[in-house]
């Protein structure tokens, strides 16, 4: 599979000082899982209308990026992994992140999602959507909840989709780094009978135990609507890792309505996982669908 970093580096977007510490923690956990380094990336945004947009990237980084330098320098050093810090000049945050991913080819990218609409300077939905659409790597969008100081329990809702392995990777890495338990949850609905649901979580739990024999893995089946069931179950856990559900290769928004509603209905830290296999614009996704292969 193309898109895996050569040595499992994890890139983390450093944009909002309030989110940095937590995002770096998540990136470190995942990087340790891969045995790679953490790359902190801050995008120096110079839109076309900026009078400073005509300078070369080197000049901008040297002379007109003091804020970004400060932001990047203030980001904490995660313990136990090697750290690289990098400034990228681009016309927008999302373009900078996607080009940085293409250039350094990390195993995963971690970005923050401030779902508070009152904050206009933070990463917004448009940025997240663009990155999910175009970044050719596994992407983790983290909604910072109440500071998950100690993580004792990770909830991994699964329904068997392309994003499940990606979500599993992060859930396992976070659980391992924090000595936490994992609960694999699925929801039995009218379309998914209980036997089928049982098979899905048993298989998922078995996969995790195979990867990490030391982890405590529990399984849970809920009934009712998917969103409500997951929101109800979330209270007992510290971190939720969700797959970015999406209907078919032609739907524009990569984060489906289910994760969005779960994010709105919970206070926990929520991580939405998007597999590298669905990256690329509409054109490449159509091409992939036609040729019947992944990327």
């Amino acid at each position: 599979m193309v898109g895996r970093g050569s040595d499992g580096d994890v890139m983390v977007a450093v944009e909002d000082p309030a989110q940095v510490a937590q995002l770096v923690r998540t990136a470190r956990d995942i990087a340790q899982g891969y045995g790679g380094t953490v790359r902190l990336v801050t995008v120096v945004v110079k839109p076309y209308e900026s009078p400073f947009g005509m300078f070369s990237d080197e000049t901008i980084v040297q002379e007109f990026a003091a804020d970004s330098h400060e932001l990047l320098d203030r980001a904490p050093d995660p313990e136990g992994v090697e750290v690289v810090r990098d400034l990228v000049v681009a016309r927008s945050v999302e373009k900078g992140l996607v080009s940085a991913v293409k250039r350094t080819n990390p195993a995963a990218l971690v970005i923050g999602w401030d779902s508070d609409p009152r904050r206009s300077d933070a990463l917004l939905g448009t940025t997240v959507d663009h990155v999910l659409e175009h970044a050719p790597t596994d992407v983790y969008v983290e909604r910072i909840g109440r500071e998950a100081g100690t993580v004792e329990s990770v909830l991994l809702p699964v329904a068997g989709g392309p994003h499940t392995p990606t979500a599993r990777t992060a859930a396992v890495a976070i659980a391992r780094a924090n000595d936490a338990a994992i609960t694999v949850l699925t929801v039995a609905t009218e379309t998914t009978p209980e036997t089928e649901a049982r098979a899905v979580i048993d298989q998922e739990a078995a996969t995790i135990r195979e990867q990490q024999p030391d982890l405590t893995v529990e399984t849970q089946i809920e009934r009712g609507t998917v969103e409500d069931a997951i929101v109800d179950a979330a209270g007992a856990h510290d971190v939720l890792v969700l797959g970015a559900t999406r209907k078919g290769p032609l739907r524009g928004r990569l984060v489906g309505s289910v994760p969005r509603r779960i994010v709105d209905g919970t206070e926990q830290t929520v991580i939405i996982a998007r597999s590298a296999s669905v990256a690329g614009g509409l054109f490449s996704r159509v091409a992939a669908a036609l040729t019947g292969g992944g990327r």
Binding site: Y48, S50, G53, M54, S56, T59, S92
Partner: protein
């Protein structure tokens, strides 16, 4: 849809366009002053709104008339045509903002109006269009050159700051004495007058050759006044003098930017308001000026916060160098009635000021990309304006 409905629609689009211009084009002049901590962001945003709105009201007429009635002969810009022009220009600006491409409003509006005029079967005023084209081509080198000269002057060690900065203030003040404003009463048949000409006219000074001695005297008085004022400030403290000059320069540039930008929103409505409705020009400019004021108050703080740090890193001297051409070129464009992209002047000024400090470190690729977008905007806006107006004509 009745004609009145169209008039209303066109007016709403024009206000929206003015709002967009106020939010985006009129903010830069105060960013250097904020970067130098001479004024707070909110104070600056408040001032920008008032100054750009006042500039629109007092100086916006000439460019507005060029766009509205000066590009073609023998064409009646009906409400439908005005709507077509505004819709086209607005669509280009919206694409620019949302897709993040450089789309100068002056190019989009002028192009759209040329397209609409052609589709109405008008005869283009080639002389006017040639003048506009020449001015546009000259803006980058002239703005860059002026900024380069200014920055070089300010960088010289053998000329102290207590002389060089007051000299610049003298030049700015001398130009101010001669800018034409709608509020200054002139002789019969003259709509706008400059302070210098007004004073000269009331004292009836002699004329030597083609020069009115009175105008020269008033200009000199202004220059001396500007020089003395800033010289005293710089002698007390260079830093304070620079800050004062940055605020003053920002103010006149903000005023000029309003006067040079409002016509891009109101121009397409000129024929409608002036000829068909028979309203005085000030009505339309007031509508545009209000839009600019609202846009500046709402949009400027965010933009100023984003750019003031960069100007702080550029330094006060290079910031001054970037603003001086902004003032001079905008006033020249207003005097000649030529629509301009204010941002293009500032960009060229920043680059020119950078060159004075050695290599500017510009990216040839980025400049080429931006230039291409400017040209594409111009060419496609003509085509789209033509198409939209023809299409609307078939429907209504």
């Amino acid at each position: 849809m009745t004609a009145w409905g169209l008039v209303l629609l066109a007016t709403v689009i024009a206000i929206f366009t003015a709002w967009t211009l106020g939010a985006n084009s009129n903010s830069p002049p105060f960013a250097p002053a904020i970067g130098a901590r001479a004024i707070s962001t909110m104070q600056a945003a408040f001032l920008i709104g008032l100054l750009a709105g006042a500039g629109a009201l007092l100086q916006g007429g000439s460019i507005s008339e060029t766009i509205g009635t000066g590009l073609f002969q023998g064409v009646a810009f009906t409400p439908l045509a005005a709507t077509a022009g505004l819709l086209t220009a607005g669509a280009f600006m919206a694409v620019g903002i949302f897709a993040g491409y450089p789309v100068p409003a002056a190019f989009a509006t002028t192009g759209a109006m040329v397209g609409v005029g052609l589709s109405l079967g008008g005869t283009p005023n080639m002389e006017t269009l040639r003048g506009i084209g020449l001015f546009w081509v000259l803006v980058p080198p002239v703005s860059g050159g002026l900024a380069f000269g200014t920055a070089s002057l300010l960088r010289r060690d053998d000329i102290s700051d207590t002389l060089s900065i007051p000299l610049l203030a003298a030049i700015v003040a001398a130009v101010l004495a001669n800018i034409e404003l709608g509020v200054i009463p002139g002789p019969p048949g003259v709509a706008q007058n400059s302070l210098a000409r007004f004073v000269a006219g009331t004292i009836a000074t002699p004329v030597v050759g083609t020069l009115d001695v009175g105008i020269v005297l008033v200009t000199l008085l202004f220059a001396i006044g500007g020089f003395v004022f800033i010289r005293r400030r710089t002698q007390q403290s260079v830093d304070r003098g620079v800050k004062t000059f940055l605020v003053g320069l920002g103010s006149v540039v903000a005023f000029s930017s309003g006067g040079s930008q409002v016509g891009l929103a109101t121009g397409p409505l000129e024929y409608l308001y002036g000829v068909e409705l028979g309203l005085p020009g000030i009505v339309l400019l007031a509508i545009g000026g209000a839009g600019i004021l609202a846009g500046a108050w709402m949009g400027a703080p965010r933009l100023l916060q984003a750019t003031s740090r960069e100007y702080a890193q550029l330094g006060a001297r290079r910031s001054i160098a970037a603003l001086v051409p902004g003032f001079l070129i905008a006033q020249a464009a207003i005097a000649l009635g030529i629509p301009i992209s204010f941002n293009n002047i500032i960009i060229s000024g920043v680059i020119g000021g950078g060159l004075a400090a050695g290599s500017a470190g510009v990216s040839r690729r980025k400049i080429l990309v931006t230039l291409s977008f400017w040209v594409i905007t111009l060419v496609t806006s003509v085509a789209v304006g033509y198409g939209v107006n023809t299409g609307l004509g078939l429907v209504f």
